[in-house]
Symmetry: C2
Subunit: 770 residues, 2 copies
């Protein structure tokens, strides 16, 4: 491995101090002159026809500056694949929590009072909450106005690979199970917030937390019916996102409409309750999965039928469901597949992206069923996976080209470090070990297809007259640490210490280069490539200027630690500051030395075909997770004791930051596995708060062992692969498999709550196998 | 003249709507989270030793978060040529209004109350207000601590050109007069204001109105003792500046110190009274001027002794006095000169830059004395000036290289349009016509010498995927209209309509390219050159991308009105939007098409030598002003009826904007000529408000006739010369000469108040000639 000066070192987060000390400015901290507070009136019923909205009393309240409904503003429907959503509900409100009116007032109290004064006359309608039921004839239709959604089908995916189901004929063992997964919230600490302000020219500026400001800009422009360039998004500090801020939440267009009507800037900040009720939590799925195996463990065939519940609106869910339907297949040499998947409307909170996209759902099913197969075939679960593992150089069933992989190495490393074989044998009663694996993509040319096939990134690096370096990228910081990663990449490539580098923390669509944003695990691999290119470009220019100034051949010069050296003598000949000062002031008319990085994915990355076939990103991250659990047979409580997580990380640019990402994903995975759930009672969410919606507490966090395999990926900066999303997906199946190892029952319905464990134990006692 | 599509047209100001409707955000409109209000405790005596400052009561007041004095903060002395100033006075307070302490509190009332609670024990000292007196031995010494300022001399300039005084021997007529000019305030509507905030890393961000944010950054860093790159200046909308915001006013370092102590952002906003008392108004001068003439009107020799009063601190005044001492000479073929000039400390408000820099003072003297010579020699004043006028191609006495001039043409045009000869003859009693001229520089490599001889400018032009163009420059908008000028230059050069172009309005030293700022009339000529170069660069790239995309030879393509045309057929072949969209997303990884303009002044522009000899800018603006006045013999009131202003403008990029500049300068010149003055009573300013300090009211504004001569200057964008400062300077002498023409008395002491007019008339009656 090459010797790097910064890359591979756990330098402190560059935004750590300001965040740890409360100095960072989040949207909620901001105040603009004349700013009003916006509040949203939400529907109280799961499904209702809006007969009339009387806003008179609200309008008359002193301090109220705007009251809007679908009837008195101009708004346009929007969406990703299906344009089924409006900022404010017009004729129908399709879930309990939907936006039906909004006010802007001089303060929060007045706004809340005004919301209470708005009188909405509804005709309550029969509703449907369950996705499977929603598909049956005769059940309520959520989108009565959409011809093509009569059976509540928002989107349908279907594909066959190889022999499809016919391959089951070759199987010695066929297993079939139904798995189901729940709705889970991203549970970021900072609730959704934005401030909208129109200038006199009709241009809209929005400050708000979003992962993909450029995309939000475009969708927002569509919802308001204005040109994209008339919208500017500026992103303050973000307090976590995890996919949940990668979507045009209705507070964006609603605050813009309120600002338009009132002529003042308007801030809307969700309460935690609003977050749960009207956020965009993870899609719940019902997965009927069938796998066929040869006696020796070879997986020969897969068929799956997915029912994915997107709630009242489709949003990004068509893409998420498509990911669920296919991505898990590329982990193995599995070439005969048939999948059908339906995205179904129900009268519940609309769903959206969440770390792992559609992977956690399908890996729960796949990795649970493979575990069952290992049991039934009498093969060690890790051995069975090793037998089927895909390898570097291979092309997967969906056309993914693996220029790096290392999946088998993650299985072996996790096995070794968890002392798998011995530990499992020695396991006490109520104490078990389970394994599960996953693969995740870095970037996504499929989603980016909406931008004309774009999945690049670009960066600008300016060196000023003090030799200080500024990196400008359109990729943003949401807490994941990208500012630090970009600092290290730029530092390494330029030869300038990290302290002399600042990455502009705030994405501003009027200033930052266009980008697809901090989604699809693309920051380090795509954004990092652009930063690397820009740094190399700036370094080249610095060397040219220095060579000219010093009268030395350019090839004799090197830059290290902010200084120019003569390569032969290793003698310092100038500082970067000296050369930059002279160049900026005397050569460039005050312009900074500017390096440009314009990264486009290479030609082997394509937009997949209609069936989803095609290599859609430059690298894939493979990992193996082993969970050790104990089960309390009296309470049903599952305690996770240890997690070993082995990942082919390519290169850990900042190992501590990678640990942060992996640990965070695993902890969210534990919540997903054991406790987090949306609980509805007759269509009303019963637990929209952190008391009743149970995220893991620190006491419930196990010892997490991060195990790196560093095999550089050829197409990414310093070989780094994506690290943000993958670790969540295998946690639930690893825990479920460990529970089976501990108590001999297979739980197939997330979350694996104490009640379900107790019930399963009781059934097992009664002789029913899981 | 070439046919331009945008240049030369009076398109509406791009920032007009938001300013006219009150939507623009000025510093005073801003609020940061947790922000405190800062207030300054000022010395009440013209000169005092600070014995002690008791801040205890102020500190105990609820809501007070910081109280600072020179004793409890770390501060460093700063200045331009002389480092004689501190943010907060330490041992001595040198004028009534000097900053001795400051507080930050939760609101303005509390801050004011705290200021009143600060008890300062002073030892009152004898003071000196008059500059001439200050130079005499035995008078109080303002800077007791400065060895070299024993006679209160802050700076001294002396030079001889040609034969110097010896040339007077050849003169047929020698005139000698003493002229004196007063203190005048820039009277911008927006008072000084800034907000300072430190981040956790120790970096200081300051939002505030300043003309030269990069220079302010550097001086501020010096005053605080931190590295320059640790300071970031962001400039909100500016409500007028006129030179008065081109200086590090003490509220910048004081707010920074308060913010440091309190740990919160601190805003300081001057009251109008503070503006007058502690702003940086124009230097007052006493000018003993002697001119020698041949019988035929040839000016053969000049000698001058200047006493310039800089008040308590030198600031930028050494440069301003140097300008006074020499610049007026370059208007004529005048080659024998001797000048001595002393900048003198007094116990009055420190002075600073104001539109015209040092020119209005000296042109008042020169152009008045030349008028007297014309009378005494029996030569028409315009003829006398034509005889001596400098011409294109000549090098002036101070080494200025005139690649364009047109001075004679301005004299002839003003003569023609004012119907000079006939009007003057027909003049009734108490009704007269006067003429005066000036020359002004565009840019200033002398001042910029402080930046290593830098006097360039740079600009970046980004074309985004919508074909929308963004111009980024480090030159700022203060109301002068540079955003509109840059829009027109970029539009013309790129071939894209002005509506598709946005100039980033806010200079941000962390984002904008380095610049010397909106001072020294450099915006259009230097900044404009950079924008023009950037636009040409971007156009070239657009043509290359279009040629490649369309498969056409690049030489066949043209860009006009946002579209690509085939030159031969004049057929539209693509839009800029189409080509930009494809290029940005598919060729540049999301990076915008970026043009760079890096303008350095050419080699014929130099830093002048020690005596001030050298061509220090790329172009000079020559103009002639004719004033028509009537004088009320009962009240002494002078009414200005008409002003004809003929200027060799090079090119009027936006004629309406040029008119705005010229008219504004003339109106300020009328105030300077007739009414504006600082009135002290025992060292205390008596008229620090717009009731008693008399700026011209609209009723007093004459009809102003702007007369353009458009002879493109070879080194500036589309030939444009600088237009912001020049028109003020000749107004006072033109009016004084018109008064002489009307009533036969010469007034030599500004302002030409009714009292002085009446006194002169009375003296004339008693047989004393002026």
């Amino acid at each position: 491995m090459a010797e790097y000066s910064t890359v591979g070192k756990s330098i402190p987060r560059v935004d750590g101090l300001e965040k740890a000390t409360g100095k960072a400015v989040f949207t909620g901290d901001m105040h603009l002159p004349g700013m009003l507070t916006g509040k949203i009136k939400r529907c109280a019923y799961p499904f209702a026809k809006i007969l009339s909205i009387n806003t008179e009393k609200a309008r008359k309240l002193t301090g109220v500056k705007a009251v809007i409904t679908a009837k008195n503003v101009t708004q346009f429907s929007y969406g990703y694949v299906v344009d089924d959503e409006l900022p404010l509900a017009n004729t129908y409100a399709r879930y309990a929590g939907e936006e039906v009116a909004a006010v802007a007032a001089i303060d929060e109290d007045t706004a809340e009072e005004a919301i209470d004064l708005i009188e909405v006359e509804y005709e309550k309608l029969p509703y449907v909450l369950d996705a499977e039921e929603a598909m049956k004839p005769g059940t309520p239709v959520v989108h009565l106005n959409r011809e093509n959604a009569k059976q509540n089908i928002a989107h349908h995916v279907e594909f066959i690979r190889g022999q499809g189901e016919a391959a089951f004929k070759q199987a010695d063992l066929i297993l079939e199970q139904r798995f189901s997964t729940q709705v889970a919230h991203q549970a970021y600490l900072e609730t959704q917030a934005c401030i909208a302000q129109w200038d006199i020219s009709g241009k809209l500026t929005v400050w708000g937390a979003t992962q993909n400001p450029f995309y939000i800009r475009n969708v927002l422009a569509g919802a308001l019916g204005i040109p994209e360039h008339q919208v500017r998004i500026i992103v303050p500090s973000i307090g976590g996102a995890f996919g949940g801020k990668g979507y045009l939440h209705p507070h964006f267009p609603i605050s813009a409409l309120l600002a338009k009507v009132s002529g003042k800037p308007v801030k809307i900040e969700y309460t935690r309750e609003e977050e749960f009720i009207s956020g965009r939590p993870r899609i719940s799925e019902i997965i009927d999965l069938r796998l066929g195996f040869k006696k020796d463990g070879t997986i020969i065939a897969k068929s799956a039928a997915l029912i994915a519940n997107c709630g009242a609106y489709a949003g990004v869910c068509p893409y998420i469901m498509a990911a669920s339907a296919s991505r898990a297949d590329s982990l193995y040499r599995l070439f005969n597949i048939k999948v059908t998947a339906n995205l179904v409307y129900t009268n519940t909170t609309p769903r959206g992206p969440f770390r792992g996209f559609g992977n956690p759902q399908m890996f729960f099913a796949m990795e649970s069923l493979i575990d069952q197969a290992a049991s039934e075939l009498g093969i060690d679960p890790i051995e069975l996976r090793l037998k089927n593992a895909i390898h570097k150089g291979e092309t997967t069933v969906h056309g993914w080209i693996l220029k790096s992989c290392g999946f088998d190495k993650t299985l072996r490393l996790a096995r070794e470090k968890s002392n798998w074989s011995k530990s499992r044998q020695k396991s006490d009663k109520y104490h078990g070990f389970g394994v599960a694996c996953q693969v995740h993509n870095g970037g996504n040319k499929a989603i980016a297809a909406a931008q004309g096939g774009y999945d690049g990134s670009s960066a600008i690096i300016n060196v000023d007259q003090y030799g200080k370096v500024k990196v400008i990228s359109g990729e943003g910081e949401l807490g994941q640490g990208i500012l630090t990663v970009f600092t290290q990449i730029a530092s390494e490539a330029l030869g300038v210490p990290p302290n002399d580098i600042t990455v502009m923390p705030q994405v501003d669509t009027d200033v930052s280069p266009f980008s697809f944003g901090a989604v699809a695990d693309r920051g380090t691999v795509l954004g990092g490539n652009a930063v690397l290119m820009a740094a190399k470009d700036a370094r080249k220019q610095l060397l040219e200027y220095a060579a000219a100034k010093l009268g030395l051949p350019i090839d004799d010069l090197d830059i290290k630690h902010g200084k120019f050296y003569d390569k032969d003598s290793s003698k310092e000949v100038a500082t970067v500051r000296e050369i930059a000062h002279d160049t900026v002031l005397n050569k460039l008319g005050g312009a900074y030395i500017t390096g440009r990085g314009e990264y486009r994915v290479p030609d082997f990355v394509v937009v997949p075909d209609k069936s989803g076939y095609g290599n859609f990103c430059i690298c894939y991250t493979f990992s193996t997770t082993v969970a050790e659990v104990s089960v309390d047979s009296d309470t049903g409580q599952v305690n996770v004791l240890n997690i070993w997580h082995a990942v082919n990380i390519g290169r850990a640019i900042n190992p501590a930051a990678c640990e942060g990402q992996v640990e965070g994903g695993i902890i969210q995975g534990i919540g997903y596995a054991l406790s987090e759930d949306y609980i509805w009672n007759q269509g009303i969410l019963e637990n929209p708060n952190f008391t009743d919606y149970k995220v893991p507490l620190s006491a419930g966090v196990p010892k997490i062992h991060c195990l790196w395999i560093e095999e550089p990926n050829p197409d990414s900066p310093f070989g780094a692969k994506c690290i943000a999303e993958h670790s969540l997906s295998p946690v639930a199946p690893a825990i479920a498999n460990a529970i089976y190892n501990a108590i001999g029952v297979r739980l197939k319905d997330l979350p694996l709550s104490p009640e379900k464990v107790l019930k399963a134990l009781a059934e097992k006692k009664r002789g029913n196998k899981g």
